[in-house]
């Protein structure tokens, strides 16, 4: 249904992690409402990820939250894309 489903669809067993694009996030808070056991809001309303690792059982609920983010800031990442560089 959502345009994100295909892009974010992992291989069946590929480990997946919830991630926030912090440059996009405006702290609307829908993710915390949809995933209260994984995401709490900090004092300014921004999501604080308490459990970013997403197992197969949780994929469906997490994808719903990803699709609901009004800023398109919440992502389900399946590859190693989190490396940072700072030179």
């Amino acid at each position: 249904m959502t345009p994100h489903t295909d892009r974010n669809r992992p291989g069946a067993e590929a480990p997946a992690r919830l991630a926030v694009d912090w440059t996009r996030c405006d702290g609307h808070g829908l993710c915390a409402a949809l995933l209260p056991d994984r995401i709490v809001r900090d004092e300014w309303g921004y999501p604080d990820l308490r459990d970013p690792d997403v197992g197969p059982d949780a994929r469906r609920a997490v994808r719903t939250a990803v699709a609901a983010c009004p800023a398109l800031a919440l992502r389900l990442e399946t590859s190693v894309t989190t490396a940072r560089s700072s030179t």
């Binding site: 912090w22 300014w44 921004y46 940072r84 560089s85 030179t87």
Partner: protein, 401 residues
């Protein structure tokens, strides 16, 4: 070997042992092309396979702060790299090593950058450095492949991906996607990294590893500031004990604290046995970062120094990411409350934890490390401030802009 380039009264340099990067600078203000060849010898020929093999065997890591292995960056490049970017922006307040290299030994940096085999852009922040690099480019037979770009960039603008973005005409802020520059065909590394590469190619990995530690061969540049008699740029074998470096720089016998790794680094007790390597700094609970070492003596209010630096760091946020935009000012306010004796440090530690890992770049992480390490080290100071203050002025020995 320890070589130190003194910042005052006139910029000079010195080394513990025979200098490599700073070779020739004990007598010359600037090595022009002819002097460069006389001091360092001819530029060695290389090809991509030889380059990668030398870099891997020499275990060369980036000297901009993150310490990323250069071999991994080279492997991620396409067969024909698009561009080489020499990061000479050096936004870290206490750091002077890259400007020193680019102004006084520019050909060493250019040797390393041009060896990669792609057009070179040297990114700097000031016209004086730009002029000396332009002059060096004009002196070289292979200078047509290099150019200089002057960027207006703060601390965060010097981050590799922010730099590439700015060079392409975008804003000097880290992009949201965590795509390393190598994926777009660009090799970005710090000015010192390319100078190290030039030394490595001349010596070969075996001789390059004759100094330094087994896991971190070679030398590194430090910039030493604060309460020392001889501030400036120093070249040391990696792994040199802190005590030797402090004595060489003319630090007081009993400093109050040191800050290792600059404003994204950590406050540490001045234990003379700390090894100045990436491993040694990590074992001491800190980071070598870009090699900034600040010394604080007993005459300054250390908590006030921490508060000034925390406020400056909050102001350096690119304002892109909520946790950094709001969290860093809150963190700075927490430290101001410590100075005022209104807090015990728990708020600061919680805000430091909260901002860590929650940004497009490592600015919140580095700021959190800096503040949290300071709060932990200065527990006695926090108690004194709660009891009415330490009675000392803030001398800005940390060099907050």
């Amino acid at each position: 070997m320890i070589t130190v380039l003194q910042r005052t009264p006139s910029p000079c340099s010195w080394a513990v042992g025979p200098p490599r990067l700073l070779a020739g600078l004990d007598t010359a203000t600037r090595l022009d092309w002819r002097a460069h060849l006389a001091v360092h010898g001819p530029v060695p020929g290389t090809d991509p396979d030889h380059l990668l093999a030398a870099v891997a065997a020499g275990r060369l890591t980036g000297r901009g702060g993150a310490g990323f292995p250069l071999a991994a960056k080279l492997r991620a490049l396409p067969e024909t790299p698009r561009a080489v970017v020499v990061n000479g922006v050096e936004g870290e307040p206490g750091s002077d090593k890259d400007r020193t290299l680019l102004r006084r030994s520019p050909h060493l940096v250019l040797d390393g950058a041009l060896a990669v085999g792609a057009p070179v852009t040297v990114a700097v922040r000031d016209e004086q450095t730009a002029d000396t690099v332009r002059q060096a480019i004009a002196e070289r037979p292979d200078g047509r492949r290099a150019r200089v770009a002057v960027l207006v960039a703060g601390l965060v603008g010097g981050e590799a991906r922010a730099l590439v973005r700015a060079l392409r005409g975008g804003p000097p802020r880290p992009p949201s996607r965590r795509t390393p520059p190598a994926a777009t065909g660009s090799l970005v590394s710090n000015a010192e990294t390319f100078a190290q590469l030039a030394v490595l190619l001349r010596l070969g990995p075996h001789r390059y590893a004759e100094t330094g530690t087994a896991t971190e061969p070679g030398t590194t540049l430090l910039t030493i500031g604060g309460a020392v008699a001889r501030p400036g740029v120093m070249e040391i074998p990696i792994g040199t004990p802190l005590g030797i470096v402090l004595a060489t720089a003319g630090a007081p016998e009993h400093p109050q604290a040191i800050v290792l790794g600059g404003f994204h680094g950590a406050w540490l007790p001045p234990a003379p046995t700390i090894r100045l390597s990436r491993e040694g700094a990590a074992a001491a609970g800190g980071t070598l970062g870009a090699g900034v070492l600040l010394v604080l003596d007993e005459n300054t209010c250390a908590l006030g120094e921490l508060a000034s630096a925390a406020a400056w760091l909050a102001g350096e946020s690119a304002q892109q990411c909520g946790p950094c935009r709001f969290g860093l000012p809150a963190l700075a306010d927490d430290v101001a409350a410590l100075v005022a004796g209104r807090s015990g440090g728990a708020d600061a530690l919680e805000h430091a934890r909260s901002v860590t890992g929650r940004g497009a770049c490592a600015h919140p992480d580095g700021t959190a490390r800096f503040v949290a390490s300071g709060v932990r080290l200065l527990r006695d100071e926090i108690s004194r401030h709660r009891a009415g203050g330490c009675g000392r002025p803030v001398l800005n020995q940390a060099g907050t802009p």
